[in-house]
């Protein structure tokens, strides 16, 4: 019994902060998306905001774009990150530099990475100027449109640049905790490198990798500043139109903005399910 009290006291401050700030904010957002806020006189809740969202082709296009950005970024980043983790596992000349740079990348804010990608890949950016220098192109418009483009290539590049090190570090930590034993046994028993990877290593790191990917997916789905900086003017990512609706002088747009926010929360909520399932699977192996 005394243990339970101790546990409760240890957990209380953190739980209170998260319940009040996070769930409180989410709750108030939910209420306002129903246009229900008695404190300022909005007394009849309604589903108008959701109805107008569901009947707006603009919202569907934004949703589709955001889903595409999140999926593509996550898949590419995960694949590259596992490869990078395998690369950095063993020692080789230059490993210290590569490892340091991977960790350095973690400390660089997303916005800096986004601006760097902008300066590299825009039609008048560094790569375009290199192409012009070597007479591959004659004017900016000849260079492929990678920024402000319908395929959100610049956005995806930025996310890949930032999330690969994130997933790599987590995967490396998992690899270190696991040790080499199972793999070595498999190789001694005659398995090729590919077989050892697919049947021994991959299942072992999968829970950690999945968990990290879930975080990355949710993040890239709900992030604002990168699509705001590098995205096309139409369709825009969901968080961008949510914030734009929220800051619209027309107060009627406010419930819609919050409904969009709830939609973002819902999609990422699904990721929590994936994340916790992945973690529970971690117990095996």
């Amino acid at each position: 019994m005394q243990d339970r009290l101790k546990i409760a006291l240890l957990l209380a401050p953190a739980l209170i902060v998260i319940l009040v700030l996070f769930f409180g904010g989410l709750g108030v957002g939910l209420l306002r998306s129903f246009n229900y806020m008695p404190v300022i006189g909005l007394n009849d809740p309604n589903l108008d905001a959701y109805r107008s969202l569901l009947s707006s082709p603009e919202v569907y296009r934004s949703f589709g774009l955001t889903l595409y950005i999140a999926t593509t970024s996550t898949v590419i980043a995960t694949v590259l990150a596992v490869a990078t983790a395998l690369l950095l596992r063993r020692s080789f000349p230059g490993r210290a530099v590569a490892s340091f740079l991977v960790q350095l990348n973690l400390t660089i804010p997303h916005l800096v990475g986004g601006i760097g990608i902008l300066y590299l890949f825009s039609q008048s950016g560094s790569f375009a100027r290199l192409a012009h220098e070597y007479a591959v192109i004659a004017k900016p418009a000849d260079f492929p449109a990678l920024i402000f483009d319908p395929y959100a290539i610049g956005v995806i590049l930025t996310y890949v640049w930032k999330e690969v090190p994130f997933i790599t570090v987590i995967t490396l930590a998992t690899l270190q905790a696991l040790g080499d034993d199972h793999e070595t046994i498999a190789r001694t028993l005659g398995a090729t490198w590919g077989q050892a990877f697919r049947h021994v290593l991959l299942p072992q790191i999968m829970p950690g990798v999945l968990a990290a990917s879930a975080i990355v997916f949710a993040f890239t789905f709900g992030a604002y500043e990168i699509p705001a900086l590098l995205g096309a003017s139409h369709p825009q990512a969901l968080p961008v139109i949510a914030y734009r609706s929220f800051t619209d002088a027309d107060l009627a747009a406010r419930p819609q903005a919050l409904a969009l926010a709830m939609l973002i929360a819902l999609i990422s909520g699904l990721m929590i399910v994936v994340y916790s399932r992945a973690l529970r699977g971690k117990g095996r192996g």
Partner: protein
Amino acid sequence: MARLRRVSAVLLIIWLILPLIPLAIWSFAGVWRYPNLLPQIWSYRPWSFALSDQSGVLSSLALTAGIALAVTLISVVIGVPAGRALGLYTFRGKALVELIILAPIIVPGIAVALGLQTVFIGLGLNNTVTGVVLVHLIPTLPYMVLVMAAVFAAYDPLAEDQARSLGASPAQVFRHVTLPAVLPGIVVGAMFTFLVSWGQYILTLTIGGGRVQTLPLIMFQFVVSGRNDITGAIAMIYILPGVLILILTARHLTGRSAALTGFGR
């Protein structure tokens, strides 16, 4: 195989450094127009402007660091006990508690900040530094708890009992037994927390409302107004503290640290 490793490593290193190069060059550019590969005119002007009083960059640097430090401090004080509870004990409802604490890592800040702003306006916390510190706690606290839970999962409380039985007071037990053992975890958690707060944009924009001008907000304003030279200088200043922190804490990130493998037990 070894050659593949070397080539991939070189590509990786180049790729990781690449976006920082134009930023660095822009910070020394006086005039740099298409199609020149390097500035037509080099200049110290971006740096001298960025470091001057009128740009507000240095005071913003202090503000951003102050907020991140406050957030880190609060996260440590609140997160270490919670991590201990989750790492050392099993109890009914633990999965639910874990889910509650994890939720803010997954759910994007914008979903919460828009709703929270109304509450904060009413409480007078909107447009204040206190409000921004509070809202930064949302994405950072879970990371601290996560890391500490993993650390405590690998920690054996037996040493504490032994010290207590030898007559040590709880404060002495904490200072001489617990703290040294979990300090590496606290450092890693604090680093994550600091960096998450350091890089925050939308939360500060929504709750700070333009009055709390952290460095990413200032940098964003300069990049959208086309002042690439100043943006480059600010970007260099902006990544510096992160580099310093990394150098100071590097030894805690590598090595057999259970810190990043999630909740244990």
